[in-house]
Amino acid sequence: MGFVLETVFGGLMTGMLYSLIALGFVLIYKASGVFNFAQGAMVLFAALAMARFAEWIPYWLGLTNPVLANVLGFAAAFAVMIGVAWLIERLVLSHLVNQEGITLLMATLGVTYFLDGLGQTLFGSDIYKIDVGMPKDPIFLFEKTFEGGVLVNKEDLYAALIAALMVALLSLFFQKTSTGRALRAVADDHQAAQSIGIPLSRIWVIVWSVAGFVALVAGVIWGSKLGVQFSLSLVALKALPVVILGGLTSVPGAIIGGLLIGVGEKVSEVYLGPLMGGGIEIWFAYVLALLFLLVRPQGLFGEKIIDRV
C-alpha cells in the first residue's frame, strides 16, 4: 500500500511539472490560436539564460551573495524572454495573421529550431546547473500508518507548490486585472476585441511574455532537477498529451490533465511496464490522451467544437 501511494505521489509531482509546461501552450493557444510548438525550446532557452546569467552577473558585478545572484539571474532571464516574445510577435506572428493553423504550427517549429540554435550559441551547449537552494533530502510521510512510510522528495514537493502558486497567480491575473480581461476578450473573438479597441499586437506580446515567464519557471524547476541541457526541450513533448487531454483552451484542464498523465505514466510504468518490456512511459501518455479524446474529442475541459456549414 505504501508503495502504491509512493508511486501515485511521484506521479502527481511530475504531473504538476507537466502542467506547468502545458500552461504555456494553453495560454498562447487561448489568446492567439497558435499551437506553440516552441514552448519546449522556450523552456530550454529560459533555463539556459537563467543558469548562465546567475553565473555571469556575480562575475561582472563582483557579487558574492548567491540569493541575490539567483534573483538577478532570474530577472535578466525574464527580460530576455520578454525580448524573445516581442521579437516573435514582430517578426513572425504579425506577418502570419489569418493564416491556417497548420502554417502557424510550422512557423513555431521554425522558431523552435531558431531558439535551439540561438540559445546554445549564446549560452553554450554544456550541461549547466541551476542552484536555487531547493532542498534535496527526502521526507517520509505516514510513517505511523504504513511500515517504512511514504517517501517523498522534498524538491518535488516544493516544485509542485511553486507550480500550484503559479496557477493561482495566473488565474488571478486572468480574472481580476484589466489586462487579463483584455486577454480573455481576445481569446474569445479577435475581431470583436479589436473593434472595441484592444490592441492585438500588444496583447500578443503580453501573452508570449507570460508564456515566457511560465517557461522560465518550468525551466528553473526542471533545470534544478535534471540540469540544464538540450534534453530539457524534449520535456515539452511530454506536455503535449497533457494539453490535448485537458483541452487546448482550458487552464484547469492543463492542471488536471497534467496530474492524470503524471499518475497514469508512473503507475503504468510500475505495473504494466514489466509485462511489456519496460520503457512504456514514452508512449503511454499519448495513448491515454488518445483514448480520452475518443470519448471527448475536445479534451476534458476544452470548449465544445461546433461544426457549422
Binding site: F114, G117, L118
Partner: protein, 354 residues
Amino acid sequence: MLYRENGQFKTSYRADSAVFPIYQDQLFMAVLLAVSFIALPLLGSEYLFRAILIPFLILSLAALGLNVLVGYCGQISLGTGAFMAVGAYAAYNFQVRVENMPLIASLLLGGLCSTVVGVLFGIPSLRIKGLYLAVATLAAQFFCDWAFLRVQWFTNNSSSGNVSVSNLQVFGLAIESPVQKYLFCLSLVLLFAVLTKNLVRGAIGREWMAMRDMDVAAAVIGIRPVYAKLSAFAVSSFIVGVAGALWGFVHLGSWEPAAFSIDRSFQLLFMVIIGGLGSVMGSFFGAAFIVLLPIFLDGVPRWLGIELSTATASHLTSMVFGALIVFFLIVEPHGLARLWSTAKEKLRLWPFPH
C-alpha cells in the same frame, strides 16, 4: 512568347484530361526525364547520388505520401516517421524470413503493413479533428519508436534494434552501385508520382479535397467521411511505407529505429508545407529544398573561409534553417508550388505586359 497555349486545340476528351495538356509542358517533362534517366547517370559523381539525389528521391516519395493525407485530405499527421519505420521493418522481416523474396515484393508488402497500421491510427480521425488529431498521431510515432526498439521479433533479435540488408536484386539485376540505386528509386518514384497524380484528380481525390475543405458539408452532399478519411490514410501510409522501406534498404543499408524518429516526421511535414499543400509537384520542391538546404548551409562557412567549430556550425545551421522556414512561410504560405505556378502565369505573358 515561348510558353503559350494558343493554337493548341484539344480535339478529344483524352487530350482534354491529359496531365500535361500544354505542348511546352510535355516538352519540359520529356527533357527532365531524359536528363534524369540518361544524362545524370552518365555524368553524375558518386557523391551526388549518395548524398543528394537518392535521399531527395526517397524523401520526395515520402512527402508525396504525406501530401495525400495533409494536403489533399486535410488530416494533419505528425506520425509519418512511424509509418516509414513500419514499412522499413516489415519489408526487412519479409526479406529475412521468407526464402527468395523478390525485393519489389517485400517493398510493396512493407507498404501494405504500413497501410494497416496507418488505417488503425487513422480511425481516431473520424472523431478527433485538427490540432487534437495532430498531437494524437504522435501516439503512433512514439509507440512505433518503442515497439521497434523493445520488441525483439521485429528486428530479428538484434539487441540494439539495428538491422541491415544486403544483396539487393531486382529481376536478377544487382542493385549495388549508386547509379543503379538511383535509377531504381527514380523509376519507383516516377511510378508512384504518376499514380498519385491520377488518383488525386479522380473521384477519390475530389472526395478527399471536399473532406479537407469542410467535412460536415462534404458529408451532407453524400461523401462518406469514414471511407474518404480512411482511404486517404491508407494511400498515404502505403506510399510512406514504401518510401520508408526504400530509405532503409537502398539509402541506409543498415538502420536503427532512430532513423525514423520524430525529427523525420517534422522534416517531412516541412517538405509538404514549404513545397505546397495539395500539390504533387510541391512534394518534390519541398524535398529538394529541405535536402539541399543543410548541405548548402554546411558549405557556406567553408566557401567564405571562416573556420567554425562543429558545435557552433551545427547551432548556426539550425538557426538559419529555422529562420528560413519562417521566412518562407511568411513570403509564400502556399509553398514553392505556388511560386512555380505564378512563374508560369508570368511566363505566358512575357515579354508583353498584357
